[in-house]
């Protein structure tokens, strides 16, 4: 966009001008920190004047979008401040916010924002002295970090080579065994329709390009012969369950192991009831991505998971009746080494790495469309009053979109990688999602497959860690 007043301080050559002073936006809660700042004023405390305050009812109201908006508009640093845990005027707003900020902060670090720019503090109405101290500390810290790096294509940047991902992948299935699975799947689907256990079977039909399939919605037993199975069955069909339920009371869906987490998430989040759904888990040979196995398959066994109702293997079709609460997703992930490598780089380099990718983003929203858990009837990026995510297809808006998409899936995403698969610009959304999953797991425990479990970011514990909060 046109030059905002706040960015005017930056010189074109990239050097920090002499006498440069940072612009810092403070998002403060009305009840504690705003009153604390007032107290600092009335008690004549002196502190740097670099902070512009915005008053919110509660830290619980502060979306990461507001922090992103500040950076997008040229702020060099952001301070978020609210009531101490236990003091929230809405009882738990700051406790939920604490988890959100913990996860958001780790993502900002991952995409290359120097954490010297992003601060969180608990300041009560009585702590005028603390407010003055926090503002001084934050100002010094942002001053050290310097002007915010530009949202732009890193011209001439050579790029980095991430470590190769390795893994054995699922058991190999030759054509004969795949044929057997296919026959069993067709039999199972046809039985489901004949016995009226479901009005529609969502599966894969053969596509027009080699090794390509497309989702099919089958309602007649004769059409079950169209059902395909093999390494081209990429889609997470969970994305079609919602629309299929508009026409049918009960829906059967063909699922790979990696699809189940999202399906379970839809139940957990009240988007559908377990009894509306019949899950047909099929033994999976892994899916192909380009010339090799997809990353998500490298550490997967391919065996159908216990939360399925029907399990289709080479041997036949069985009813499954295991306890879903014991089910958990596989932990090792081929991406973890790449994430660790990225985290070992200086944040400037990470910024360039992600800016180059975000710059390619076309805002086609295929990531959103393919994700079973992106089910909002109106996405935040389509809301224009107020417009939180800039619609212009360039770096600032693209960065905000890609960050907020991931944040909205933090603690919910179960790594089916559909977003990364469908991205025409090859943005490594899978790395971002995995990074957030790791952080959620480290802080709040594993994301399981149990539909009864609560998502980590809508929950809180009084004793949640907060070592980064001033």
């Amino acid at each position: 966009m046109t030059e905002a007043n706040v960015t005017a301080a930056k010189s074109e050559a990239g050097a920090v001008p002499e006498n440069w002073k940072p612009h810092i936006v403070a998002l403060v809660c009305n009840w504690c920190s705003y009153a604390g700042a007032d107290m600092a004023g009335t008690t004549r405390r002196e502190y740097p004047a670099n902070v512009r305050m915005m008053r919110f009812p509660c830290t619980g109201r502060m979306s990461p979008l507001m922090i992103l908006r500040a950076f997008e508009q040229g702020a060099d640093g952001v301070l978020v401040s609210g009531c101490h845990p236990g003091d929230c005027h809405y009882v738990q707003g700051n406790l939920v916010a604490r988890r959100r900020f913990t996860i958001f902060r780790s993502l900002m670090d991952f995409i290359g924002v120097d954490l010297k720019r992003l601060h969180f503090a608990w300041v009560s109405a009585a702590e005028g002295h603390k407010w003055a101290k926090v503002v001084s500390e934050v100002t010094t810290s942002v001053q050290e970090a310097g002007p915010l790096p530009s949202f732009e294509h890193p011209e001439g940047w050579g790029g980095i080579d991430l470590p190769e991902m390795t893994g054995s992948g699922p058991q190999e299935l030759d054509e004969q065994r795949l044929d057997a699975i296919r026959a069993n799947l067709r039999k199972a689907a046809s039985e489901v329709l004949t016995t009226e256990r479901a009005g529609v079977v969502i599966g894969y039909g053969s596509g027009s390009l080699p090794d390509q399939t497309h989702p099919v919605l089958i309602t007649k037993t004769a059409e079950c012969e169209k059902l395909e199975w093999g390494q081209g069955c990429r889609n997470n069909l969970g994305a079609y369950v919602g629309s299929a339920l508009e026409k049918h009371e009960r829906v059967a869906v063909v699922a790979k192991t990696c699809d189940l987490g999202a399906i379970s998430g839809l139940i957990r989040e009240g988007q559908l009831r377990r009894d509306q759904l019949l899950v047909i888990g099929v033994q999976c040979p892994g899916v192909r991505d380009g010339s090799g196995l997809a990353t998500k398959c490298l550490s997967c066994s391919g065996d159908p998971h216990p939360i399925c109702d029907l399990v289709v293997t080479v041997e036949g079709v069985q009813e499954s009746c295991e306890d879903p609460s014991a089910a958990a997703l596989d932990t090792p992930d081929a991406r973890d080494e790449q994430i660790a490598y990225l985290e070992s780089l200086p944040h400037e380099e990470r910024w360039q790495y992600w800016q180059r990718q975000f710059g390619r983003c076309l805002r086609c929203y295929a990531c959103r469309a393919a994700c079973p858990l992106c089910y909002c009837s109106t996405c935040i990026t389509d809301k224009h009053r107020p417009q939180w995510v800039p619609t212009s297809i360039d770096h600032p808006g693209n960065s905000t979109w890609n960050i907020i998409r991931a944040v909205h899936l933090a603690g919910r995403c179960t790594g089916c990688d559909e977003c990364a698969r469908v991205c025409p610009a090859d943005i490594r959304l899978d790395l971002i999602n995995r990074k957030l999953s790791l952080e959620v797991e480290r802080q709040y425990g594993k994301i399981g497959l149990d539909p009864e479990e609560k998502s980590a970011l809508v929950d809180f514990r009084m004793e949640d860690s907060e070592e980064f909060i001033l």
Binding site: A4, L209, H214, R356, A366
Partner: protein, 352 residues
């Protein structure tokens, strides 16, 4: 054949290097494993091969993803309006495939017929297209099935034809001539035998494309069967993103968006797509294309129907990108033939 030469790869690179002087040269570049059109700083960045496409078309260099139409500033209690400068630098789009070059001509038909779009026209005026004919088809390619050619000249000012290791450079327009005017020293004139290679390439690439042609009379069938029930079935797995439209060389839809803060702002034109529900959503809440099926039908018909004259080309140039990149595996050509078959068999009015 005085306007065609045979160049070695080295001579071609040297010419490309010369073009960098005084022009902004946009060529296929590999970035994080993705082949894309980008402005290049030196000739060795360009990836120019006998076949293979960039991930999406070079249309963004004539019709940017987003561009400001006007800007404003609040200063001293008044509003200051500002027109963004009209682009003046001359650009060369280098190594554009024939399908993409035709796609640019389809864009011209939108932006330059009737009221000329000021910014588009300025960019077009300052752009020279150096196309590269194809020596092989990618799996998704189907240009010959929709009336285009792997060696097509439409939209090209200069055409490069792969001759094994070498290239034949053909000047097709005056704009193209300007690009080679002082570079031709030491180049060998192309022979009649080289010239024959074009027809050979066309035949061999067409042979690799297995799709049956889209019949030009189908346009009318599709329009007559607008309300046919087949559309509902054919597009029920469309996910409603806009990959197809954004990677398409000829899709030209846009939206107006406004980016502003307390001090300044700008009115922008940004890419938009008929596959999005918001595209036709009225302020009243009514949406004339309420379902994804209706929206997908719009896209298909805008490529293969809604033509003013029978001889008008299809707006689909057959690059096949929408087929290979569709998250849900939708295939525009199969959709067209399936719709036509259903409409003919069941009658144009067969209910949904």
């Amino acid at each position: 054949m005085e306007s065609s030469w045979k160049l070695t790869d080295t001579q071609l690179r040297k010419w490309l290097s010369g073009l960098l002087d005084g022009n902004s040269v946009v060529a296929p570049v590999e970035e994080d494993g993705v082949l894309l059109f980008r402005p290049i700083a030196s000739e060795d960045q360009a990836v120019v091969k006998p076949s293979g496409k960039t991930r999406w078309s070079p249309k963004e260099f004539l019709f940017p993803r987003s561009e400001a139409l006007y800007r404003y500033n609040f200063k001293g209690g008044t509003v200051q309006l500002e027109d963004p400068p009209v682009p003046e630098e001359h650009q060369v789009l280098f190594g554009v495939r024939s399908c993409d070059a035709s796609g640019l001509v389809r864009l011209d038909e939108i932006f330059l017929s009737g009221t000329k779009d000021r910014l588009y026209a300025a960019r077009r005026e300052n752009t020279t297209v150096v196309s590269a004919a194809c020596a092989a088809a990618d799996v998704e390619c189907f240009c010959t099935a929709v009336g285009y050619s792997p060696v097509g000249e439409e939209g090209s000012d200069v055409q490069l034809v792969p001759l094994g290791e070498d290239w034949m450079l053909r000047v097709l327009t005056d704009k193209g001539r300007d690009l080679v005017s002082d570079a031709g020293d030491g180049w060998t004139a192309a022979t009649a035998k080289d010239g024959k290679r074009i027809a050979e390439l066309e035949k061999s690439v067409a042979g690799q494309i297995e799709r049956s042609p889209v019949n030009r009379e189908w346009s009318q069938v599709l329009e007559e069967g607008f309300e046919h029930g087949a559309w509902d079935r054919l597009a029920q797995h469309c996910l409603g993103c806009s990959v197809c439209a954004y990677v398409c060389p000829s899709c030209s839809c846009f939206d107006m968006n406004h980016e502003a803060n307390a001090w300044c702002g700008e009115q922008c034109r940004s890419w938009d797509a008929c596959t999005f529900p918001l595209f036709t959503h009225h302020a009243s809440g009514h949406n004339p294309r309420e379902t994804k099926q209706e929206r997908y039908r719009q896209r298909v018909l805008h490529k293969f129907a809604f033509r003013e004259e029978d001889e008008d080309p299809f707006r689909c140039v057959g690059c096949g990108r929408c087929v290979s990149l569709c998250p849900a595996g939708l295939d525009i050509v199969n959709t067209v033939s399936a719709a036509v078959e259903a409409i003919r068999e069941e009658g144009a009015d067969a209910a949904r």
